[in-house]
């Protein structure tokens, strides 16, 4: 949780780009990645996104943490495909009590799947590090994503940090009183923690509503008005997508 992307975003050239342009470019790239059958295109995307992360000065530790979970899943999938699917035998290991067979086509499928996962994750990591949450939400509202969905997402995002502080206070108090010293106590403590957070959610929602009604809230939150598109940004993003499309076809 201490590695929430929002806390590590710095000022860089991509911050200034219109969020709508970044959303379109990211979704387009993501679609190309998941519909590609091969290695080359995902590897290009991984390399490009890694360079962008370096340019955006994403801390190395955060970068590794973001990639560790998908990388782990990718490795397991390679093993799964290598040993469980395929017909062309790549190697056979005689382990005395059993024979381990790896398949060439299974390995290729596994590597393809793994490269697709890593490339898709890279795209989302770049989007997350290059765009503030409120800007993404404002961008989504322009794409006619239902306002209600955006409103509750904004409420959720705003209160994650508030509730997280409350959760940490309760958790530390429980831990100091050996609340997690056994499984039974752990379950009881975790239930109390979750229940307390739900009670706090009810309380905060009442207080927030009263405060918002006093400021004219009628059930709808007004959104940021969008600035007009910059021609240069549009031109660059179109060029970027055409280039990606051409690479995808190779």
């Amino acid at each position: 949780m201490e590695f929430f992307t929002e806390q590590f975003r710095k000022r860089h050239f991509l911050i200034e780009v219109d969020p709508r342009v970044k959303i379109v470019a990211s979704v387009f790239t993501l679609l190309l990645v998941i519909s590609y059958e091969g290695f080359l295109f995902p590897l290009i995307i991984i390399a490009g996104c890694t360079l962008l992360c370096l340019k955006m000065k994403v801390p190395f530790k955060v970068f590794i943490i973001r990639y560790s979970e998908p990388a782990f899943i990718a490795i397991v999938l390679i093993l799964l495909k290598l040993f469980l699917s395929g017909s062309e035998v790549l190697f056979t290991l005689d382990m005395n009590i059993f024979t381990l067979t790896g398949y060439q086509d299974g390995l290729l499928n596994g590597l393809m799947l793994a490269s697709r996962i890593m490339a898709a994750v890279s795209v989302i990591i770049v989007l997350g590090f290059s765009t503030p949450f409120t800007a993404i939400m404002a961008g989504l509202s322009w794409f006619k994503v239902p306002k209600t969905l955006i409103e509750i997402t904004m409420f959720a995002y705003r209160y994650i940090f508030v509730l997280l502080e409350d959760a940490m206070v309760i958790y530390n108090a429980q831990k100091n009183r050996l609340g997690y010293s056994s499984i039974t106590r752990g379950i009881n403590s975790f239930s109390t923690l979750t229940g307390s957070l739900i009670l706090k959610a009810f309380e905060h929602s009442q207080k927030t509503t009263i405060a918002m009604v006093q400021r004219g809230y009628d059930g709808n939150i007004p959104f940021i008005k969008h600035k007009p598109f910059k021609h240069l940004e549009i031109a660059i993003s179109v060029l970027f997508m055409i280039t990606l499309g051409a690479l995808w076809r190779i």
């Binding site: 993501l30 998941i34 397991v76 093993l79 469980l84 997402t153 409420f155 739900i198 959610a201």
Partner: protein
């Protein structure tokens, strides 16, 4: 002599599953509830998104209807999405796997908010996790919404209502709602994963392998989630029964004093 002990390749599946189990569940947290970004091919991503959208739409419609009478409903749903996000980021020890996993939280939101809005809450929590923690993903968001938001919420809500109509108490009904919400999510995620990665391989054997591989973590985790849901419902009942009445979880006649 050696050949007598040799096992056929098909039987090696057991060994590989054991290997995968140890590599998956003893080295790091198990993120079994979310399909990772990019794991599903384009067609399956699209299919799961197409299945998820009507449920999200219905959830939004229900929320709008309820918000007309009570303006605090939208902030409440947003805040409960924040709670689901937080608890699904918290590691819970899974004794049989000797590691940590995390609860989904859909059982409790299904009980409090109903399945439609609970699916919406899960969608929001999953979206924020995908975008800012790289847990799950945008291309797999539809699939994750269907498994955690829709199947989890429906299973939790339906079992809670059935058990309550059979006059079972809140504690037991809450336990089974949490348990089945978790297991329904786990089974649906396994189906989605098997369909997504199978290629030319037959579906059912792969599904069985995935279910078996996840079982050592997900079965005890479901039981833990059952206890957690039961504990939360009882805490709310003791501290703020008025809230449970407001959300139509209990009837006024069930409140003591």
């Amino acid at each position: 002599m050696n050949s007598r002990f040799k096992i056929q390749n098909s039987k090696l599946i057991i060994l590989i599953l054991v290997m995968i189990y140890f590599s998956l569940f003893t080295l790091s947290d198990a993120y079994a509830m979310h399909l990772a970004e990019g794991i599903l091919p384009f067609t399956w991503s699209l299919i799961w998104w197409a299945l998820a959208i009507p449920f999200i739409g219905y959830g939004i419609w229900r929320l709008k209807v309820l918000s007309k009478d009570d303006l605090s409903f939208k902030p409440l749903v947003g805040l409960l999405a924040a709670v689901v996000f937080i608890i699904s980021c918290m590691p819970v020890p899974v004794p049989t796997a000797g590691t940590c996993s995390h609860p989904a939280g859909t059982g409790i939101t299904a009980i409090i908010l109903g399945p439609a809005i609970s699916a919406l809450v899960a969608s929001v929590a999953l979206f924020i996790q995908a975008l800012f923690l790289a847990h799950g993903g945008l291309s797999t968001l539809g699939a994750n919404i269907v498994s955690m938001g829709v199947m989890g919420s429906l299973a939790g809500f339906i079992i809670f209502k059935i058990l309550r109509s059979l006059r079972l108490n809140l504690m037991i009904s809450g336990f089974f709602a949490g348990l089945l919400a978790d297991w329904a999510t786990y089974l649906m995620t396994s189906v989605e994963l098997a369909l997504g990665i199978r290629g030319d391989a037959p579906f059912l054997p792969l599904l069985t392998q995935i279910i078996v591989a996840f079982a050592p973590t997900q079965i005890p985790l479901g039981i833990l989630e059952g206890f957690m849901t039961s504990g939360v419902v009882m805490l709310l009942y003791k501290k703020r029964p008025d809230l449970l009445m407001k959300m139509m979880v209990i009837k006024p006649s069930e409140v003591k004093g």
